[in-house]
Symmetry: C2
Subunit: 561 residues, 2 copies
């Protein structure tokens, strides 16, 4: 099953009657999920999300799917189906709509409300179609049936796409909590019916495929919160994801039961919960919500602050509270609950927050010491159920790093899917479903597209490498003005350095040698500024390496006057 895609070439033209699937993100990373289905020259997009950068991508704001593959074919897109309202599934929609604003957005009521709020910030008014589970809609050649799935945000949908080439079932993100708070379970009856009718290609969430067993119930968190609330005699601060409506619901309910008021803290928390409440997904107990401004008038044991920042984001409320740099302060006896997962890569930041809060005297409850979080993604046990109920003819694991996709593929094979019908693809890999068999036929270029300030796609790996060098090693700039007549140094050389252990004055040692080297070079005929710049770079570079054991970026500038 394991196919390194190092040497794939561009795919052949799509055969008549065949279906093509290309993921432009989400296969090889957790985020920027986007799949493009093609039949008879027409396209259907499923999800269009963002990926958040890691520390080797410094300064980057967001990472988008690579739209290059569809840039010339925007008019062929029938619709964008959005499976749910998380950023890694909807966050890149504004960037795609900038290219063609009237692509119809299809999704559940809550999903569309979240994406519309986001588009409003980008001043885009989209064309939308709200759908519900059980509903079937046709978008050109694609007939889409929407199926309820359970996830860590309400109103998530899977989508079955019927074409003459066969039926694709795409799960979106899902798990199979059998007693969810809203009673809306993953519709295994629909999965069973689709399986009976025949699923030709099953595109299935891999995020937790490495995790054995089953995800615990969201409902189980309520009693844990209840216990923590009962033990708390002063203020309670809860941090979680700003879209986790059910988690917030349980906090509101626990607060209500313990006679506390809740203030929402953080712009996204306030906005999302207003939407969820307006649409009836969040049920706010009478009089439980108060404004943050009112909190100071309440006694400590009647306060709950529900905030963002559970991943240690430095500018979010919780980090600033932990640093004693927020209007909300924390002190001995207060309780802080991180009702969230610890997303890999965020450990140091989250532990810094926990240490800061502990140092201020707070008790910190988190998923490492209490059952205050459950995942939103099906574990191996749940995935096995799906495979057995669906008996798909072909499987294509989606949503995950390579290790997750490979683990999910192994589960499919264990349930009897033939190994040659399990397609391990990465971003940009082209999968054709021909005569009922899915296989890899090539790959299209599919890179990381960085949003960086106002630039989209302007920054490349080369600039990121420059940033890593600048961040690790600092830089030295050298200026000199030389006479175009005789090569004499008229002004400078001046050396400016930043990000160094040593101050600029240490470079005074090198200035005489540098002047000498420049004038010698001029004497030997090296009069063009480029050559003189190389001389400066070489002299300073060698000195810094020998003396300081560093390899900074060196920018030499010679001006002729």
């Amino acid at each position: 099953m394991s196919h390194p895609h190092f040497e794939l070439t561009l795919p052949p033209a799509l055969a008549d009657g065949a279906l093509r699937v290309v993921a432009l993100g989400g296969l090889g990373e957790v985020g920027r999920n986007m799949a493009v289905l093609e039949f008879a020259g027409r396209l259907l997009v499923i999800d269009c999300g963002v990926l958040f950068p890691e520390d080797h991508q410094p300064g980057v704001d967001l990472i988008l799917p690579d739209f290059e593959y569809i840039r010339e074919r925007l008019d062929d897109i029938e619709a964008i189906v959005l499976t749910h309202g998380h950023e890694d599934h909807i966050g890149a929609v504004p960037y795609l709509l900038r290219l063609r604003q009237d692509i119809p957005l299809v999704g559940s009521q809550l999903t569309l409300a979240f994406v519309e709020a986001k588009l409003k910030e980008h001043r885009i008014a989209p064309v939308t179609l709200a759908v519900r589970e059980g509903q079937t809609e046709r978008f050109g050649v694609f007939e889409c049936e929407f199926v309820a799935v359970n996830h860590s945000i309400p109103d998530a949908l899977a989508v079955a796409v019927r074409t003459p080439a066969g039926t694709v079932l795409h799960t979106g993100d899902f798990k199979m909590d059998q007693l969810p708070l809203d009673g809306r379970i993953t519709d295994l009856r629909a999965f069973a019916r689709l399986g009976e009718q025949g699923v030709d290609l099953f595109m299935v969430d891999s995020t937790n495929a490495e995790v054995p067993g089953f995800v615990a119930q969201e409902r189980g968190i309520g009693p844990v919160l209840d216990g923590v609330f009962a033990d708390s005699t002063k203020r309670i601060i809860v941090a979680s994801f700003a879209s986790h409506v059910h988690r917030v619901q349980q906090v509101l309910d626990a607060a209500h039961a313990h006679g506390r008021k809740v203030a929402l803290v953080g712009r996204s928390m306030v906005r999302n919960m207003a939407i969820a409440s307006d649409l009836g997904y969040l049920k706010i107990p009478q009089d439980v919500l108060v404004d943050l401004k009112q909190v100071d008038q309440l006694p400590d044991d009647e306060i709950v602050l529900m905030c963002t920042g559970s991943q240690g984001e430095p500018m979010a409320a919780l980090s600033r509270i932990a640093n004693n740099d927020h209007k909300v302060s924390v002190g001995p006896g207060d309780t802080v609950i991180l009702a969230s997962s610890l997303i890999p890569g965020n450990e140091n930041a989250v532990f810094r927050v926990i240490n800061g809060l502990t140092r201020l005297g707070a008790r910190v409850v988190h998923s490492g010491n209490a059952k205050v979080h459950v995942s939103g993604h099906a574990s191996a046990g749940e995935l096995l159920y799906c495979y057995n109920i669906l008996k798909p003819r072909n499987v294509m694991p989606v949503h995950g790093e390579v290790r997750h996709l490979v683990a999910n593929a192994a589960l499919a094979v264990q349930t009897g899917v033939p190994a040659d019908r399990v397609v391990l693809a990465e971003d940009g890999v082209v999968v054709d479903l021909v005569d009922g068999k899915a296989s890899i036929v090539g790959a299209v270029p599919c890179g990381y597209v960085y949003v960086d300030g106002s630039s989209v796609g302007g920054i490349t790996e080369a600039e990121l490498k420059d940033r890593r060098i600048l961040g690790d090693e600092g830089f030295i700039s050298i200026f000199a003005v030389v006479s175009s007549a005789d090569g004499k140094v008229l002004a400078g050389p001046q050396i400016h350095a930043r990000g160094f252990a040593e101050q600029d004055h240490v470079f005074e040692d090198i200035l005489p040698e540098l002047t000498r080297a420049l004038e010698e070079a001029a004497l030997t005929g090296a009069t063009d500024t480029h050559q003189l710049q190389q001389v400066m770079r070489r002299v300073v570079g060698r000195w810094v390496s020998n003396r300081l054991r560093r390899r900074p970026m060196i920018i030499p500038v010679v001006v002729e006057a």
Copy 2:
């Protein structure tokens, strides 16, 4: 128990007959462990380790304890007791010996062998005294009894320090594996005897105090390795810590049992295992070791490569193998075992390695999917045993972040140590033991000391902030030559930028405005170069912020000619 130390002042002079304890590292972080005991004007140092930097400390090589407190008192130091040979306990010894080379180093045979190999690289020949468990030595006013403890490196020691002010027991790093590979258990009989005699201050490893229960046995890893070896038909690559002699022992034994040869890969792995084998701590089965060069002559199913890089260090063997950038290559059917913990902060790097290996077709076995690692630090269950056996009069949790220290303190209180006898100190906090009671009496300055290239302590938080800005935002340098006569721009302005989405030519837009602004400034009398530089910074800064939405570092240079 929870004492924020924000407002502590310098301590009073140490009272006659009292003992002072100051940690110069290790209290508030996992690493750079170092404690200084003082009695009657004399000092005893326990451990002197390094801390590895996090990603908000870019380019930093190592972080040392802050020696400032003892810099003027080096001649008062009787000895440095080294509890074991891990970098976070011995790594800073060369930097301390640079200040006074003849401070006696006291430790077990293996510990001294590791520290001597390190000192040799620094060209320092130390004064050493090898000690064994059960042995008692006097260093001036300090009588030290050494006690065997079990840890993830052989030959670790705790030390009981007797002074007229009372007895301090310092555990070093330890756990309580009851069936360790070498049969050398943490000596609870000695702990019991010391407890009977009276332990006035118990300084105890906090690393795993948050973890409930007991650490599993190292011995349990053997059968797991055995099972993985039995399932492997091609090459096996094992990565672990280069000092984990017992882990390597188990790999050698498994290889021997399965008819495979082992090649050690990585300089530190080769060096440390040579030392351990010479001293008899590592028992190499006959003919099992081969040189890496010989591996190519062996069939795949007779090969084991034992290498470094289990934390995803980019330059270590395993990362380079995963990137297909090492003479050792990995392919479908090979097995890679990460027999190590996942140190917080390294997740992304380790998962990149796992994904790379998976993509190449290898099966990757790691602590997330098999029992191939156990911790070296006592969990809460073990710590409770210690408290109950020792019944210490005062407790000072050491080795850990604030959250670990607080968790350890809570365990002490649960066993009956009065809360006011549990001292929660951070680095630099001064703890005096007076009349049998330990309490905080002040604090001395104790910062992070960064090793950065050849600079020790030269780099400050300000330079690190510069590096973070450079790494996130890049920089722009602007250069102009102006006439000292009339303020006309004679050459330039030139703009050079690095780490940007946009190439230098985008700045051409701003050059005319910049020239205009400079000449206008000159006309209005701003002739000094500093003022003109501010004009350039302002014009370019505003333009970059408006046009590119970035805030790079801007370095303007004006030269008069």
